[in-house]
């Protein structure tokens, strides 16, 4: 493949051109209620040529590799039509690498019968957990993606990116009231990660049942403690996306809003994005422009410390590329994205965080979140009342909203119990969703958070 890509790139007439070709084999099996709902498999191959001339981009996507040279020419012609300025793309160390992976327990060797038996066992646990459990959903998916990349700078890499995921949901009903609870796990290293989750599955189903009897969280302004899962999602959604340099680099006002050194939080607040961290869902050796991944401080000591860059944004902002140009698949260009994003540990034991709250809400787990830059809304999976420093009754319908900058400044306690979620999240941006990412945080205590009431 290397020779083939580099040969096609010889047709380039642009300032810069690259080809990324991917193959992906995936399979999915899912239960819904008593029955298997889906059993499917997919095998695809294709790619994209990107060319840049005088700062303008041309892009051609393809499914067949038969005419790569022609596609390089066409992308270059498109770029020429666009560019009127200067091509500015940051330099990185030359890359010539192959990163095959060896899975501890390769999911491709596991029989369909075994996978099905596992799902059935989880599904039976949910359906039998309580009389109120009306329906279930248990999904297994695996994907083996291989990325080949070459550019006119002579860079080349091949990286294998396997992933196995198991997610489950319980639906409980009492009359017209329906409550759901979710959980799941994701691994890039072994099929065994999806095994042995019986207790977690049972807890999830029992929570859906308990939520039926939980009161709604009344709307209002509260002191809130976020559990690590929700805190991680909050930092990713509400803040992390603002650090993506493609939103910032050409926008003078955004550059001012996100300018490095600006105080955005308490002195103890550090937020890091690290695509090279361990084996999480957002982990990889290279981004989709061939830049090695690494650790980037987004907030250090409460002040903005970095942005997440592609080659172009790095050059235009005078920064170093951070390895955050990621594409969700073969036919889309890489854009600035997060990888594994987390809040570093503070020094307050969780018990002390709670002790500081007379009347508040402990918000746990995330159903999902959405932001429009400064504004965010997201739903906790469930919550608890906090009274006089004690965790109280279970609450449902906990939806948090607010302005991210006000909220970051309102963090008044950072726990010392960092957890990076193994669940594996899917991030959406610019129509590219779900991109594998991970989030993490210790418990966070935040003052004056608006919780919406029904």
């Amino acid at each position: 493949m290397k020779a083939r890509l580099l040969k096609a790139l010889q047709k380039s007439t642009a300032d810069y051109a690259e080809i990324r070709v991917e193959t992906e084999d995936s399979s999915v099996i899912a239960y819904r209620g008593r029955e298997v709902e889906t059993a499917g498999t997919s095998s695809v191959r294709g790619g994209i040529v990107r060319a840049c001339t005088r700062g303008g981009w041309g892009m051609v996507t393809f499914d067949s590799l038969a005419q790569l040279g022609e596609q390089v020419k066409e992308a270059c012609a498109c770029a020429k039509l666009v560019g009127e300025e200067k091509t500015e793309l940051a330099e990185v160390e030359p890359v010539d690498a192959e990163k095959p992976v060896t899975l501890e327990h390769d999911f491709r060797g596991v029989s369909l019968d075994d996978k099905l038996a596992l799902l059935k066992a989880y599904n039976d646990i949910i359906l039998g957990a309580a009389p109120s459990i009306e329906s279930s959903s248990v999904g297994y998916g695996d994907s083996f993606r291989t990325v080949y990349f070459a550019s006119t700078r002579g860079n080349y890499f091949m990286e294998q990116r396997p992933r196995v995921t198991c997610r489950f949901m319980a639906v409980a009903r009492d009359g017209a009231l329906v409550q759901r609870a979710y959980d799941g796990i994701s691994s890039t290293t072994t099929y065994d990660a999806v095994l042995g989750m019986e207790d977690k599955v049972r807890e999830t189903a029992e929570r859906a049942d308990a939520l039926l009897r939980a009161p709604k969280c009344e709307g209002g302004t509260y002191s809130v403690i976020l559990d690590p899962e929700l805190a991680g999602v909050f930092v990713h959604e509400a803040f992390g996306h603002l650090s993506e340099a493609d939103l910032v680099y050409e926008n003078a006002q955004m550059r001012e809003l996100m300018c490095l050194g600006r105080e955005v939080g308490v002195a103890g607040l550090n937020v890091i994005d690290d695509g090279s961290l361990g084996n999480y869902t957002g982990t990889g050796a290279f981004d989709d422009e061939g830049t090695p991944t690494g650790e980037t401080y987004l907030i250090r000591g409460g002040a903005l410390a970095g942005h997440l860059h592609s080659l172009e944004t790095a050059a235009k902002m005078g920064a170093k590329p951070t390895g955050n140009a990621r594409a969700i698949g073969r036919s889309v260009p890489p854009i600035c994205r997060m990888t594994n994003t987390y809040v570093t540990n503070g020094d307050i034991p969780v018990g002390e965080l709670f002790a500081g709250v007379d009347r508040g809400v402990y918000a746990c787990d995330a159903f999902g979140g959405q932001t429009a830059l400064e504004m965010f809304t997201f739903s906790a999976g469930y919550g608890y009342r906090i009274e006089n420093g004690q965790r109280g009754e279970l609450l449902r319908d906990v939806t948090l909203t607010g302005n991210v900058f006000q909220t970051l400044k309102s963090i008044d306690g950072i726990g010392n119990d960092l957890v990076i979620s193994k669940r594996g999240g899917g991030c959406g941006k610019g129509g590219q969703s779900p991109l594998p990412v991970s989030v993490g945080s210790p418990h966070l205590r935040i003052r004056d958070v608006v919780i919406g009431g029904g």
Binding site: A39, T41, S43, M59, F62, E250, A372, T401
Partner: protein, 439 residues
């Protein structure tokens, strides 16, 4: 577009169906799609990128011993292998609630392919985007302006063991512009876009940019939102989002699996008497226009809610079998193209009648949580306060919540005027709960 490619594929798909049959499948369905598109995009007010894309994909569904397996891919040379893999998967697959794909039925023809759209050159799209950008920049040179245009042509073919062999070709264009205005930590997003299969008068760059300009003008001033239970004025482009729980509720799969609060309520008054909703897949050149569903069943025009009375659940082939109902020709049990019947008074009068309320242009965080039950709670991304029948300014940090089944149960007034495509009216609902952070 290389038309012959699809023609060759017909015999290839027929062979595939035979292969599945002889390998033990009692029924099989193969479909193949090919599409080509070209696009351009402007960022920060200047042309940033243009390009083209080509894609091919196929889907295989087989039934073996009453179980269903599926596979998909984009390498035609691997079609046989993928058929075999679907057959293997069917052994652990989903229980099928049908035995055979139905024979061909009478189709209602609908136009989805337009020569005029094929003639939409990349240069013209670039020019149109440039025109929108110019109009917006003239209003405010500090805006961060983006614009995109695209043109697409596709062909699809479906072959089933029921004897259906159906080809459909489609063209489509889209054109949109978006702006971001940043003042300190205050950020405003506004945007508008259109798309259609035929290159008709809907393709109007100055009108599209004009809609964004109206939002920018309305949002010049920020005002405090009203709080408590208020009236909400919902424009046509937002109405489908508010109807979402009802569409999830009539989805036959949700009904059969016990997830829909509408189960067992056919013939009951569910929504306000003012609301009639029709699914109409036969509007020429509409984005949802379609002659057959993915199982080869003819699509049909159907009234879903008539004067607020629930009339229909939507069923695809498998779900119909599960529910003991007739299939309605709706792939995935989803509607194709919703039409909401207009009301009596023009939207201008509806607006003028609101003493105190909010005008909802965009939502953030909508659709999370328990939306199928109608419960929602989210931020207003872009919205205005209406006071004494006039838009008085933009509202910020405003959260709305409620239950859509309650909000749409009575006191819903729809406008007599519809959007440009003749789909959706403006709506006014009462009793929406509004909370403000600054309150």
């Amino acid at each position: 577009m290389r038309k012959p490619m699809i023609e060759n594929s017909e015999s290839r798909l027929r062979q595939g169906v035979e292969r599945a049959n002889s390998a033990g499948a009692s029924a099989a369905k193969l479909s193949l799609g090919h599409s080509e598109s070209t696009h351009c995009s402007f960022e920060r007010g200047r042309l940033k990128e243009t390009g083209s894309s080509e894609s091919l994909s196929y889907n295989v569904e087989v039934l073996v011993d009453g179980r269903c397996g599926t596979s998909s891919g984009n390498r035609i040379e691997k079609l046989d292998e993928m058929i075999d893999r679907a057959i293997v998967l069917a052994k652990v697959g989903s229980t099928a609630h049908f035995n055979a794909y139905p024979p061909p039925g009478a189709l209602t023809p609908v136009k989805t392919h337009s020569e005029r759209t094929l003639g939409l050159a990349r240069e013209r799209m670039i020019e149109s985007c440039g025109q929108m950008v110019e109009a917006l920049r003239e209003y405010d040179p500090d805006l961060f302006i983006s614009a995109t245009g695209s043109r697409n042509e596709s062909e699809d073919i479906t072959v089933t063991t029921g004897g259906v062999c159906h080809q459909a070709s489609r063209t489509a264009w889209s054109l949109s512009s978006h702006v971001q205005r940043t003042k300190g930590t205050d950020i405003l997003f506004a945007g508008y876009g259109r798309g259609w299969c035929d290159l008709n008068e809907f393709y109007a760059p100055s009108v599209i940019a004009g809609r964004v300009l109206v939002d920018l003008r309305n949002a010049e001033k920020t005002v405090e939102p009203p709080t408590g239970k208020v009236k909400a004025y919902i424009p046509p482009e937002q109405l489908p989002a508010f109807l979402m729980p009802f569409m999830a509720g009539i989805n036959g799969r949700n009904v059969a699996k016990g997830d829909s609060p509408l189960a067992g309520r056919l013939g009951e008054q569910v929504l306000a008497k003012s609301i009639t909703i029709v699914d109409h897949p036969h509007v020429d050149y509409a984005s949802g226009a379609c002659e057959i569903d993915s199982d080869g069943i003819p699509t049909r025009k159907q009234t879903l809610f008539e004067n607020g009375v629930l009339r229909r659940f939507l069923y695809d082939l498998d779900t119909a079998g599960l529910a003991g109902a007739e299939p309605t020709g709706n792939s995935g049990c989803y509607p194709y193209w919703l039409l909401v019947t207009p009301g009596v008074r023009p939207s201008s009068e509806l607006l003028a009648d609101i003493d105190d309320g909010i005008y909802i242009k965009a939502l953030i965080g909508y659709g999370q949580g328990n939306i199928i039950n109608g419960d929602f709670s989210c931020n207003v991304g872009l919205g205005y306060r209406i006071h004494n029948g006039e838009i008085t300014g933009r509202i910020k940090d405003t959260m709305i919540a409620g239950n859509l089944y309650d909000l749409f149960a009575e006191n819903v007034e729809l406008s007599s005027d519809l959007d440009h495509a003749g789909r959706m009216p403006h709506a006014v609902i009462e009793g929406l709960s509004v909370a403000s952070r600054s309150a």
